[in-house]
């Protein structure tokens, strides 16, 4: 029983240290359960629980150890931080993963680690755990491994054979910030394994087209994370990085983690500074616009306006800046333009295009189709209702829409803007 007490304590320490990594995706990978093993990934993620901060829990997200030779100011596990240290054994991680999975608590494992002794030593342990899960436990659940910057190509390649997703966190959006907060690191350390993985993933995909039985290689691709609000970057700089990751590195996801003050270091926002949750949310909205709505970064932010609006979402902001694009007649417009109307999402836009084949759509048809009509109505070209709004200025439309929405974070707006 003493042993189990220690495992509980370790889990507490190592889950606490891993929780600032926000990735929780567990889909996008098909790994069928053949020969009666455990686990089956159908390609759709499942969120098994939600913590009180509203974030989803789908993976057992832990560090192998929070021992670290680096001293990155933004990280709880930094060398100079006076906290409890712990390390799991390979067997413990495997045992907890399988036991949790069998009880339907989780979709799989997200394993990261502080760097102890050297990158290869750390990476080798991570790979060993993934290998044991796949080979000895016959586990087909989801595995997300960190690719430790500086680890050898062979180890990272081996990791890709067992993991569904690999990620290298860029952490700071720009090189200057990284230099400021993590003097031991530089962007190249991150970009190098990312590039290696990109090529490896593309190569294996080609191979699989020819040889069906070729092994899976990181089928859920790679992702990365940027901490936002810890340093001075504008949203323009952040989204430019995002664009680079999606465009040039073929990343599946870029995550944004609003900085949670954990340090008295004067290079960072003070303890008690509110987490920039709204800004983080706006960045995710912008990210979605880039990936699913056909927007370009330059349509959302620019040199004259380097930050996203906090009080309204980026799509509404774009629509208000581009009044000449509206009103749109949803009975004739193409899908891409309908997706750009505030209050209409991708699914609703598809529904509109599908159902207008049967009959002409009128305003009263839209609400039941899941459209935020109160928001969309200012941008729609229905003859009668639109005429009610067409003499409003952009500012008046904005105010009317703002009146409709209530945010519990409103009080945080001012403090976020004056962070620096």
């Amino acid at each position: 029983m003493l042993l189990s007490e220690r495992v509980m304590e370790k889990l507490e320490i190592l889950a606490d240290a891993a929780k600032y990594d926000v990735s929780c995706a567990s889909g996008q990978s098909k790994r069928e359960n053949k020969n009666k093993g455990i686990g089956n990934s159908s390609g759709f993620g499942i969120c098994h629980a939600y913590t009180e901060d509203g974030r989803c829990v789908s993976l057992l997200k832990i560090l192998l150890t929070n021992q670290c030779i680096f001293d990155c100011a933004y990280c709880v596990s930094r060398k100079s931080n006076d906290i409890k240290r712990a390390a799991f054994t390979v067997e413990e991680v495997v045992d907890i993963t399988i036991s949790f999975y069998r009880r339907n608590y989780i979709e799989g494992l997200f394993l990261s680690s502080g760097i102890f002794s050297n990158p290869d030593y750390t990476m080798e342990r991570l790979v060993r755990i993934a290998k044991k899960l796949r080979k000895e436990e016959n586990f087909n659940g989801y595995i997300h491994l960190k690719a430790i910057p500086g680890a050898s190509d062979e180890l990272i390649r081996e990791a890709g054979l067992y993991a569904d997703r690999l990620s290298v966190n860029v952490e700071m959006p720009t090189e200057q910030s990284l230099k400021l907060l993590a003097p031991d690191k530089n962007h190249q350390d991150v970009i190098r394994p990312m590039t290696f993985l990109k090529e490896e993933i593309a190569g294996r995909k080609e191979e699989k087209k020819i040889i069906k039985k070729a092994p899976l290689f990181a089928p859920a691709g790679q992702s990365t994370q940027m901490v936002i609000g810890a340093t001075k970057e504008t949203d323009l700089e952040i989204l430019a990085m995002t664009d680079y990751f999606y465009g040039k590195m073929n990343l599946r996801r870029v995550y944004y983690s609003g900085y949670v003050p954990i340090s008295t270091d004067n290079r960072l926002p003070a303890l008690g500074t509110p987490v920039p949750i709204i800004r983080e949310n706006r960045l995710y909205q912008a990210d979605w616009l880039l990936r699913f709505y056909g927007f370009k970064v330059t349509e959302l932010v620019g040199w004259d306006q380097p930050d996203l609006d906090l009080d309204i979402d980026p799509k509404l902001a774009w629509a208000l800046r581009n009044p000449e694009q509206f009103p749109v007649d949803i009975n004739t417009a193409d899908l891409e333009m309908i997706k750009r109307i505030p209050g209409i999402g991708v699914k609703s836009a598809q529904r509109i295009v599908q159902s207008r084949r049967y009959r002409r759509l009128q305003p009263e048809h839209l609400q039941p189709m899941g459209i935020a009509y109160n928001r969309a109505k200012y941008f729609l070209a229905f003859s009668t209702p639109f005429s009610l709004h067409k003499d409003l200025t952009q500012e008046q439309i904005k105010q009317q829409i703002l009146k409709l929405q209530q945010s519990k974070y409103e009080k945080n707006f001012s403090s976020q803007i004056t962070l620096f």
Partner: protein
């Protein structure tokens, strides 16, 4: 008017649809509480006939996409009011039209099916997430659920694919039946299970440890500075807490 009553199976409903066309009933109504004739209607108890059911199924599949057919099928498990009647109105529209009607979402007949199916899909997805197995002494992974819709048969395959090497039983406490996987196949088991029965002695010796471990984990991954109870409750409505290990008090 004709009032129809089926045996509570999907095939029963399909048979009824067949007979509506076979006997040229006009103005029909599906009844959920058996048949009782009155002076305004004739009553008919439908006997399920797999041959008839198969023909209707084939006809529907020809006129609908796979997804459209699934939506109709899922509606059957939704337990919405007059589900069978709503499904009949939809089927009638399907058979009366020359083109596929499922995109005609602003027609209430289509929309009601779409909405019911969406509810069932959401509830199935929730059950895939919220089932919490507890390991018994005889090595059966056992879970109790109380879903809003009757979804056990819809999620059986998900669980047998995933947990192919462990015996498990998921029990629906609301509808008093369960699905049991014996390492080969899933079967429906009728049983009444008294929740208060079965103390500590029925669980595997390590079960409590893993439940506690999971609770501790669940507590540690929360970021207090980001507390957002509204979102938490939206994703994990309170009615599900009773059977969620991480929400159990006093472990």
């Amino acid at each position: 008017m004709t009032t129809l009553a089926c045996d509570g199976t999907f095939e029963g409903w399909l048979t009824a649809v067949f007979e509506i066309y076979e006997y040229r009933f006009t103005d029909v109504e599906f009844s959920s509480e058996g048949v009782s004739a009155n002076m305004f209607s004739t009553a008919r108890q439908v006997t399920t006939d797999l041959r008839k059911a198969e023909r209707v199924k084939k006809g529907l599949k020809q006129r609908l996409s796979q997804q459209g057919y699934q939506q109709l099928y899922h509606t059957f498990f939704s337990e919405i009011e007059n589900a069978e009647q709503q499904m009949w109105l939809f089927a009638q529209y399907v058979f009366a039209s020359k083109i596929n009607v499922e995109g005609d979402q602003r027609n209430p007949v289509v929309w009601n099916i779409l909405k019911a199916a969406q509810m069932v899909r959401r509830e199935s997805h929730r059950m895939k997430a919220f089932v919490r197995f507890q390991l018994t002494k005889d090595q059966i992974y056992y879970a109790v659920v109380e879903p809003d819709c009757d979804v056990l048969t819809l999620i059986a395959k998900h669980f047998s694919d995933r947990y192919a090497d462990q015996r498990w039983l998921i029990y629906d406490a609301k509808r008093k039946y369960g699905i049991y996987y014996d390492l080969n196949s899933v079967s429906v088991v009728e049983m009444t299970f008294n929740e208060s029965s079965g103390g500590v002695e029925i669980w595997d010796e390590k079960e409590l440890f893993f439940q506690k471990l999971w609770q501790r984990y669940f507590g540690s991954v929360n970021i207090k500075a980001r507390k957002n109870m509204k979102l938490h409750l939206q994703h994990m409505p309170k009615r599900y807490w009773r059977h969620l290990t991480e929400k159990k008090m006093g472990l």
